[in-house]
């Protein structure tokens, strides 16, 4: 076991745990944001640099600080390590830089993007980004393409987290026909030549996508996510690798969308098969268990009934602040 302190919070975690997972074991504001790391996908992480943290003490044995900020998702803790996340101005500055880099070529088409409301990039931008861009140049654009008959790829929105390629390698039977082509800022997710991704588990690429680059064609433009009700549901799926445990997103009685069940860090508990995801859209297909707890602070939770009370309090607090500012002026 290793004792580690993150933003002043002490915790004890098994040796070999990453800083990010140590923080997640406690939760709250000390958890660095992660756009490319996905605990269930081997090899993921280290790329987006949003989870950079400062290690101000390496360990009890070697208390020297680490010379550079480190990706918390790929750096393992040492006994006595002291980490600064949101308590370090240096980290916040670097993170702001990363958000800006991720956004300079992003189309910012949230008003028409299906991911809006449950988008990691949107959340990250709100929390760590700047209000305006300094980027004056033309943004990179790509054609929207179908990869398979159920999945749409909007490459413009992609942040190259590589997660979908890991899903193809590790979840969808290793039958990968899409990947990263070209290099540098021309790099893109592609099948190179037009090819349909054909695997029973390919739909999980949509769930792991942190942005709206991969969307479910059976649900596209169906509804803003905050107008739908997420309900835990299950069915007796005959695919032996699929648990049939999902979230169905309902509007009235209609099921608009089916996804995996995601935790507080937007990771699915279990990957689900394409039949459950794309083909079971009737309420009668499912045993509805009850409302899904959406316990992260994204736009979706803002409109979710469970949180209405919190939101109301937040709004009232804000109104009081504004009122007092006006009075002062």
């Amino acid at each position: 076991m290793a004792k580690v302190t993150i933003d002043g919070v002490e915790m004890e975690v098994p040796d070999g745990t990453t800083i990010l997972n140590a923080a997640r074991s406690v939760g709250g504001d000390i958890v660095p944001p992660a756009m490319c790391y996905y605990s269930k996908l081997e090899g993921s992480g280290g790329k987006c640099r949003t989870c950079l943290v400062k290690v101000s003490q390496g360990s009890t044995n070697d208390p020297r600080p680490m010379p550079k900020l480190v990706p918390s998702c790929r750096t393992t803790v040492m006994d006595g390590m002291v980490v600064e996340n949101i308590t370090s101005p240096e980290v916040l500055e670097a993170r702001k830089g990363v958000v800006e880099f991720l956004l300079i070529n992003h189309p910012l088409d949230c008003p028409i993007c299906d991911q809006a409301g449950e988008c990691d990039l949107q959340n990250l931008g709100y929390k760590h980004g700047a209000a305006a861009t300094r980027y004056e140049e033309e943004r990179r654009t790509y054609k929207k393409i179908d990869i398979g008959d159920k999945i749409k790829l909007h490459m413009d929105r992609c942040i190259l987290c590589y997660r979908c390629t890991y899903v193809a390698d590790q979840v969808a039977d290793g039958d990968r026909c899409h990947g990263i082509i070209n290099r540098g800022d021309h790099a893109e997710i592609s099948t190179y030549i037009e090819k349909a991704i054909d695997s029973d588990f390919s739909g999980n690429m949509i769930d792991v996508c942190p942005v709206g680059a991969l969307t479910d064609k059976t649900a596209r433009f169906g509804s803003r996510v905050w107008f739908t009700k997420p309900m835990d549901a299950h069915r007796d799926c005959d695919n032996p690798k699929c648990s049939g445990k999902v979230v169905v997103w309902q509007k009235g009685e209609d099921i608009l969308r089916v996804t995996g069940r995601k935790d507080a860090y937007h990771e699915v508990d279990e990957f689900i098969c394409n039949t459950c995801r794309f083909e079971k859209k009737k309420a009668s297909d499912w045993v509805i268990e009850g409302p899904r707890h959406i316990n992260n602070k994204s736009v979706i939770s803002a409109n979710h009934y469970e949180h209405l009370k919190d939101i109301k309090e937040d709004v009232e607090k804000y109104q009081r602040q504004v009122a007092s500012n006006i009075n002062k002026a």
Binding site: G46, C48, G97, V98, L160
Partner: protein
């Protein structure tokens, strides 16, 4: 004349052949090492020599060797980094082309020291003709029993192969190189684990630059202690310097570390002074990635001491008034050069060469190139200069591999030392329309007028 080791026999006719190379004493170090020394003794000699990695980072070679995981059951590999791509650097090409056996002998001694049975030389794709020269030399070595089974009648056997790259600067980064050698995209790996623990095929691996490996037989010949006597302080031995730009005698030179920069630039033995007798304006000492220095900081440090060709003296003053020895890519610019244009070409280079794996480098390098393009072509605005400084700052230190830093330093240092020239481009767009705008009427910074 400084002492020559690597290039001592460079002018001997036929030195590229095994026959002449052996006549000049070639492979005697290998024979001595394999027949009379223990592998760890060789590592010890290299440690004593103080030899530092000649590819750019300057990490002590002997120490790097000693990190190799000896407990691992997996085979160990030596991989030679011949992916020389740093702008301003062409010394490895010269060495491999002219004396290929010096690298092969170095591979043999180093592989034996590390316990490697198979070693690879990864050479950049553009050097295809050098690949052919190396392959020929390797063939000769096999035919003479210097590679293959039971070398020098001992039970040591070694295979050496040359792997060709295909156009990617990033593969000079050792883990990107290993990825490429495994037939993948040249995306640098996350570290740790370092190659010494998990490198090629997840086996313990040492990656060394061509010049580093080629220096090893010389260390064996003259002993580590003797080698360490050459040079100054922690900058021991001789170093190959690729000299280019506005000088009378561009080319590859072997210097004893500790030579003054002044002598290197102005003596006839080396660069032979500035072309056309013009005034010097700027210098890049160690390849395009290192900070650029303005005229008044080239031959003297900020403290007024003579600047020496050593790791320490060149970096004297840190990034405020110093630079780095890096790969020894020495580029001189005279007063006709436009720093903005030059900086833009480097920004374009790093943009082109970014692998795209991590976001600060992928997005930042392209952004910096675009802003610099704007300024150089007379469309910039004053806020662009600080924007560049800020982008560079946000890339530096925040990327997976050093390419991010390498893209940021030249830009940050050019603005630090030549800010007025950037401002001039913004204030006088009509004067920078002609791409050769300073060729006839050099720009003189008010700060540098008296130098």
């Amino acid at each position: 004349m400084g002492r020559k080791l690597l290039l001592e026999h460079i002018n001997v006719p036929g030195i590229e052949t095994l026959e002449v190379y052996r006549k000049m004493g070639g492979y005697s170090a290998a024979e001595k090492a394999i027949k009379t020394m223990q592998p760890d003794d060789i590592t010890e000699e290299v440690k004593k020599s103080g030899l530092r990695g000649r590819g750019g980072a300057g990490f002590p070679a002997g120490m790097k060797w000693s990190f190799i995981d000896k407990k691992s059951e997996k085979p160990r590999y030596l991989v030679c980094n011949a992916d020389e791509s740093e702008p301003g650097t062409f010394k490895d090409r010269y060495l491999m082309e002219k004396i290929p056996h010096s690298l092969i002998e170095g591979m043999l001694v180093s592989s034996f020291a590390l316990g490697a049975k198979t070693s690879y030389i990864y050479i950049r794709g553009e050097y295809f003709y050098v690949l052919r020269i190396l392959e020929k030399a390797i063939e000769e070595a096999y035919a003479a029993g210097l590679l293959g089974k039971n070398i020098f009648g001992t039970d040591y056997s070694l295979d050496v192969h040359v792997q060709i790259g295909a156009g990617a600067y990033i593969c000079g980064e050792e883990t990107a190189l290993l990825e490429s050698l495994e037939g993948k995209r040249g995306n640098p790996r996350m570290k740790p684990p370092f190659p010494a623990i998990s490198g090629l095929y997840a086996s313990p691996t040492v990656v060394n630059n061509v010049e580093t490996i080629a220096a090893v037989p010389h260390i064996i010949n003259i002993t580590g202690d003797e080698y360490a006597k050459i040079g100054v302080g922690r900058s021991t031995g001789t170093k190959l310097i690729s000299a280019s730009g506005h000088i009378n005698k561009p080319g590859t030179y072997e210097i004893e570390l500790g030579l003054t920069v002044e002598e290197f630039i102005y003596s006839d033995e080396y660069c032979g002074g500035i072309k056309g007798g013009r005034k010097i304006k700027a210098m890049i000492a160690g390849g395009s990635s290192v900070p650029i220095l303005p005229a008044h900081l080239i031959t003297k440090t900020a403290n007024g001491e003579d600047r020496l060709m050593t790791y320490e003296s060149l970096s004297d003053g840190g990034f405020v008034s110093g630079t780095m020895l890096g790969s020894g890519g020495f580029v001189i610019m005279d007063e006709t050069a436009c720093i903005v244009r030059h900086t833009w070409t480097l920004a374009r280079f790093y943009h082109h060469e970014s692998c795209g794996q991590c976001s600060p480098c992928r997005e930042g390098t392209g952004w910096m190139e675009k802003v610099l393009h704007r300024i150089e072509h007379g469309h910039g605005s004053m806020k662009d200069i600080d924007l560049l400084v800020d982008i560079a700052k946000k890339i530096e230190g925040n990327t997976i591999c050093p390419l991010g830093d390498a893209s940021a330093w030249p830009i940050a240092s050019a603005i630090r030392h030549f800010r007025e020239e950037f401002e001039y481009h913004i204030l006088h767009p009509e004067k920078v329309k002609d791409p050769k705008h300073f060729a006839h009427e050099p720009f003189v910074s008010s700060k540098l007028e008296n130098v």
